[in-house]
C-alpha cells in the first residue's frame, strides 16, 4: 500500500488530479453550509454579470439565480451521477464479463453477442432514447448511463478473466476442490481489480460528461441543478450572457480532467508493467 502511494505520488499529474477532486468533493459536501440558499432561488436581477456584486461573484442567470450556488450544488449532482452510474455499470459488467470469461463456450458466446448489441447502437443516441422513453429523472439518467457504459467493463473483465482462468493458481484451486463461485470470487476477481479500478475512474469521468450532455439536451432531472443543465439553459442566451455557459463548463472540464489524471496515476501505480517510460 505504501508502495502504491509512493508510485502514485510520483506522478505529478495524478497528485494535481487528487487535489482538484478533493476541492470539488469538499464543495459538493459543504454546499449546503457554504451557500445555504437554494440554487433555484431568484436572488437578484436576471443576467447580473460576474464580478459586479460581491455577494454573487459569478453573476446570475436568466431568472436571477446565483451561478456560484448552482455550481456548488451541481457538483453534488455530477459526482453522485458519476459514481452511482459507474457503480451500476460495474455491477452489470463485472458479473457478465466474469461469467463469460470463466465459463467460455456458449455462455461466453451468448453473453458477448448480448454485449455486442449494446455496442452496435451509438451509445449517446441510445442514452438519449432511454432517458426520453423512461422520462428524465435522476434514476432514468443513472440507469441509461449505466446501460450504455457497462459493455467495456464486461469486455475488460472477460479478457482479464480469460487470461486468469488458465493461470496455474486457478487450476490449483480447481484441483483443491473449490467451487466455481469461490474460484471466481476469491481467485479470479481480486486479480482483475487493478484494471477495473483504473477503468472505473475513467468511467466516472465519462459518466459526468454523459450526464452533462444529457442535461444539455434537455434530458436532465429538472429538480436537480446540474452543470450540464446550466450550460443547456444558457445556450439560448449565450450572446447575452457568456458566463452562464462558461463557468459550469470549466467546472466539468476540471472535474473530468482530475478524474483522468487520477486514472492515469492509478494505472501507473497499479499496473507497473504498463507504466509509461521516462520516470
Amino acid at each position: 500500500m505504501a508502495d502504491f502511494w509512493k508510485r502514485f505520488s510520483r506522478n505529478r499529474g495524478a497528485v494535481i488530479g487528487v487535489a482538484i477532486l478533493v476541492v470539488v468533493l469538499v464543495v459538493a459536501i459543504l454546499a449546503p453550509l457554504l451557500l445555504p440558499q437554494s440554487p433555484w432561488r431568484m436572488v437578484q436581477r436576471p443576467f447580473l454579470p460576474p464580478f459586479s456584486m460581491d455577494q454573487y461573484p459569478l453573476g446570475t442567470d436568466a431568472l436571477g439565480r446565483d451561478v456560484l450556488s448552482g455550481l456548488a450544488y451541481g457538483a453534488q449532482v455530477s459526482l453522485l451521477v458519476g459514481l452511482v452510474s459507474t457503480l451500476a455499470a460495474l455491477l452489470i459488467g463485472i458479473p457478465m464479463g466474469a461469467l463469460a470469461g470463466y465459463f467460455g463456450g456458449w455462455v461466453d458466446d451468448a453473453l458477448m453477442r448480448f454485449t455486442e448489441f449494446f455496442q452496435t447502437v451509438p451509445s449517446f443516441a441510445l442514452a438519449i432514447v432511454l432517458v426520453a422513453i423512461f422520462q428524465p429523472s435522476i434514476y432514468s439518467i443513472i440507469a441509461a448511463i449505466a446501460i450504455v457504459s457497462w459493455p467495456p467493463v464486461a469486455r475488460l473483465v472477460r479478457g482479464e478473466v480469460l487470461s486468469l482462468r488458465s493461470r496455474e493458481y486457478v487450476e490449483a484451486a480447481i484441483l483443491s476442490g473449490q467451487s466455481n463461485l469461490t474460484i471466481i470470487l476469491r481467485q479470479v476477481l481480486p486479480n482483475t481489480i487493478s484494471p477495473i479500478i483504473v477503468l472505473a475512474s475513467l468511467m466516472v469521468a465519462t459518466a459526468i460528461l454523459l450526464e452533462s450532455a444529457l442535461s444539455f439536451m434537455g434530458l436532465g432531472d429538472p429538480n436537480m441543478m446540474s452543470w450540464g443543465y446550466m450550460i443547456g439553459a444558457a445556450r439560448t442566451v449565450i450572446r447575452q450572457a457568456w458566463w452562464l455557459s462558461f463557468f459550469p463548463g470549466v467546472a466539468i472540464l476540471l472535474t473530468v480532467l482530475a478524474l483522468n489524471l487520477i486514472g492515469e496515476g492509478l494505472n501507473d501505480a497499479l499496473n507497473p508493467r504498463l507504466a509509461r517510460r521516462g520516470k
Binding site: Y169, E171, A172, A173, L175, S176, G177, Q178, R186, R277
Partner: protein
C-alpha cells in the same frame, strides 16, 4: 593469442535507483579473440546480458555504463556517437536474441527484413539484396529458401526463425557475433542444430562469437573459452576445459555440481509397488478455429492413445519436446482437461468419468505442482490461505487447516511465519516450495509435477529436486514428472515415457532409456542433450 577483436576493460554499468544492486556489471574485463567462441555464463541477474548489450550500444534506457572501456578496432565503443555505433551495428558487430518469436517484425516478410540489413548500410541494389538473402537463407539451412523469403515470421517454426535471425546477423559478415541466449527458447533437438550451425558458421568465417547462456550443457557444446559471472562480476574465466573440468571458484563448482547428471543410476526399486494409477487408451484432440460460422477447423491430436501405469512410490517421467502432448497428458490425469476417450483409474476409480462432488473428492488423491512459480500462486492471497484453501474446501475447519499449513511449510523448509506473507515476498525457489506444500495439503497419493523446475535457475533447481525426492520417500508418494529436460528426468525418474506428437514412443526404466534407447526419436533426443558428449567423455 593477441588477435583480440574486442577488449572489455573494467566495465561498470549502473542500474537505475531502486534496483536490487547498484551495478549490473561491476568492473568486468575480458577479451574476445577472432575465431573463438567465448561463453559468458551465469544465472539470471548475473549481468551477463548487460555486458553483451553494452558492446552493441543497446542497453535499456536508464541503464548506462559508468566506467571502463570497450575497445573495438582501436575505438572505445562507449564513447562513440550514435551515428558511429549505427554504422558498426550489423556491419561489424551483429547480434541475435533469445526469443525468435518476438525478435522479428511480425508485419514484414522475411526477405524485407533481411534486405533491410543491406539497406541500413546502403549496400547493394534492391535485386542484389534479394539474391543475397536467398543465399543467406540457404547457408543457414532453411529448407525451400525461396518460399521462406515470402513468408511472414509467424509462418516459420521457432528454429527457422532463429535461422533467419542468424542469416540477418551474418549478412554483412561481421567480425563479432553476439548471441544472447539464442537457444534457450528452443527444443532440445532444435537447440542442437542451431548450436551446430553457429559453430560451423563461426569456423567458416573465422568470426568471434560472444555467446551468452545460463546452461553449462550448452557451454560444453560450444565454448572455446568461458567467463562465469555472478552478481555483475566475473568470478572465473578460462578455457572451456579448464573451467568445466576443474572449476576453481566455489560458485562455479556449485553450479556445475548442481547440473543433473545424465548417468541415471539403475534404480533400486526392486519390485514395483502396487499400481496406483492406471491410464489406458487416453485420447484428446483440439480443434482450432471453426465454430458455428468459422472456416475449416484444424484438428490436432494432442494425446493419441496413451496408456501408462504408475506404482505407489514410483516416479514416472514423461519427457518430450514442446507440442509432444506431455502436458496434455498431465492435465487429462487431473481432469483439468476432459479426455475424449480412455480411462484414468486412480486407485481403481475412473477419474475420466467422474463429475461434480465425486470428482472433487477423487482429486484429493491426485494433486499438481505447476511450472511457473510466479503464475501458480494467487498474488492477492497470503501463503497461509493458499495452502489452507484446499482442505477448507473439503470441510476442514479453518483453525485446523492453518495449523496444517504451518506444518507443511516446515516440511518444505520454509518458516512457519510465512503463512502471513504474500507470494511476491518470496523467491522463485521458495514459491515453488509453497506450491509443493499446497499440493501436499490434501494428502494426495499421486502428484503430477508439470515442468516443476524448468523455470528455476540450476542451483535452485537442484534444491527443489532434492526436496521432491525426499518428500516422495517420506510420504510414499507416486510422482508423475513431466519435463522437457532429459537431465532432470534422468536424475529424478525411476521410469521414463518418451512422447512425440501425442504418442508414447518408448517407455522403460530411466537407465535403460538413457543407456540403450530403442526408438530412433529417443536416440535423437538423447544425443541432442547439450554437453552430453563431454560428460560421457569425462565419465569414460
Amino acid at each position: 593469442m593477441t588477435d583480440q577483436v574486442l577488449r572489455v576493460e573494467n566495465l561498470k554499468i549502473a542500474l537505475p535507483e531502486g534496483a536490487d544492486r547498484d551495478f549490473a556489471v561491476n568492473d568486468v574485463s575480458f577479451d574476445l579473440h577472432a575465431g573463438e567462441i567465448l561463453c559468458i555464463v551465469g544465472e539470471s541477474g548475473s549481468g551477463k546480458s548487460m555486458s553483451a548489450n553494452a558492446a552493441m550500444g543497446l542497453l535499456p534506457e536508464l541503464v548506462r555504463p559508468v566506467g571502463g572501456r570497450i575497445l573495438f578496432d582501436g575505438n572505445d565503443l562507449l564513447t562513440l556517437s550514435e551515428d558511429e555505433m549505427m554504422d558498426l551495428r550489423g556491419r561489424k558487430i551483429a547480434m541475435i536474441f533469445q526469443e525468435p518469436m518476438s525478435a522479428l517484425n511480425p508485419l514484414m516478410r522475411v526477405e524485407d527484413q533481411i534486405a533491410e540489413v543491406f539497406e541500413a548500410h546502403g549496400l547493394l541494389t534492391r535485386k542484389e539484396r534479394k539474391e543475397r538473402a536467398v543465399t543467406l537463407l540457404t547457408e543457414v539451412g532453411i529448407p525451400d529458401p525461396e518460399k521462406a523469403m515470402r513468408a511472414y515470421p509467424f509462418q516459420l517454426s521457432g528454429g527457422q526463425r532463429q535461422r533467419v535471425m542468424i542469416a540477418m546477423a551474418l549478412a554483412l559478415e561481421p567480425q563479432i557475433l553476439i548471441a544472447d541466449e539464442p537457444t534457450t527458447a528452443l527444443d532440445v533437438t532444435t537447440q542442437a542444430q542451431i548450436l551446430q550451425l553457429i559453430r560451423n558458421l563461426q569456423e567458416q568465417r573465422g568470426m568471434a562469437v560472444m555467446f551468452i547462456t545460463h546452461d553449462f550443457g550448452v557451454v560444453a557444446e560450444i565454448a572455446d573459452r568461458v567467463a562465469v559471472m555472478q552478481y555483475g562480476k566475473i568470478v572465473e574465466a578460462g578455457t572451456a576445459d579448464e573451467v568445466l573440468d576443474n572449476p576453481q571458484h566455489a560458485y562455479t563448482q556449485k553450479l556445475i555440481a548442481a547440473i543433473p547428471k545424465l548417468a541415471a543410476e539403475a534404480s533400486e526399486v526392486a519390485e514395483p509397488g502396487t499400481p496406483i494409477l492406471d491410464v489406458a487408451g487416453l485420447n484428446k484432440t483440439y480443434r482450432t478455429g471453426g465454430g458455428m460460422f468459422g472456416a475449416q477447423a484444424r484438428v490436432v491430436h494432442a494425446v493419441n492413445n496413451v496408456s501408462l501405469t504408475l506404482a505407489e512410490g514410483e516416479t514416472l517421467g514423461i519427457v518430450g519436446e514442446s507440442g509432444s502432448g506431455k502436458s496434455s497428458v498431465g492435465r487429462c490425469l487431473v481432469r483439468l482437461m476432459q479426455p475424449d476417450s480412455g480411462t484414468v483409474k486412480l486407485a481403481g476409480q475412473d477419474m475420466a468419468h467422474l463429475s461434480g462432488g465425486a470428482l472433487r473428492e477423487a482429486r484429493k488423491s491426485i494433486q499438481m505442482i505447476f511450472q511457473d512459480p510466479y503464475a501458480s500462486l494467487n498474488p492477492r492471497a497470503k501463503v497461509g490461505r493458499i495452502i489452507a484453501e484446499g482442505p477448507m474446501a473439503h470441510g476442514v475447519s479453518k483453525r485446523e487447516a492453518y495449523a496444517r499449513a504451518v506444518e507443511l511449510l516446515e516440511l518444505v523448509d520454509l518458516d512457519a511465519l510465512s503463512i502471513d506473507r504474500y507470494p511476491h515476498e518470496f523467491s522463485g525457489g521458495q514459491r515453488q516450495r509453497i506450491g509443493i506444500a499446497r499440493a501436499l495439503a490434501l494428502e494426495p497419493r499421486v502428484i503430477i509435477a508439470d515442468e516443476a523446475v524448468s523455470a528455476l535457475d540450476v542451483s535452485i533447481q537442484a534444491q527443489v529436486l532434492d526436496l521432491l525426492a525426499d518428500l516422495k520417500k517420506r510420504l510414499n508418494l507416486a510422482l508423475v514428472f513431466i519435463t522437457h529436460d532429459l537431465r532432470v528426468a534422468a536424475q529424478i525418474c525411476d521410469r521414463i515415457a518418451v512422447m512425440q506428437k501425442g504418442e508414447i514412443v518408448e517407455t522403460g526404466p530411466a537407465h535403460a532409456i538413457f543407456d540403450n534407447p530403442q526408438n530412433a526419436y529417443t536416440r535423437t533426443l538423447i544425443e541432442a542433450i547439450p554437453g552430453r558428449e563431454k560428460e560421457l567423455a569425462a565419465a569414460g
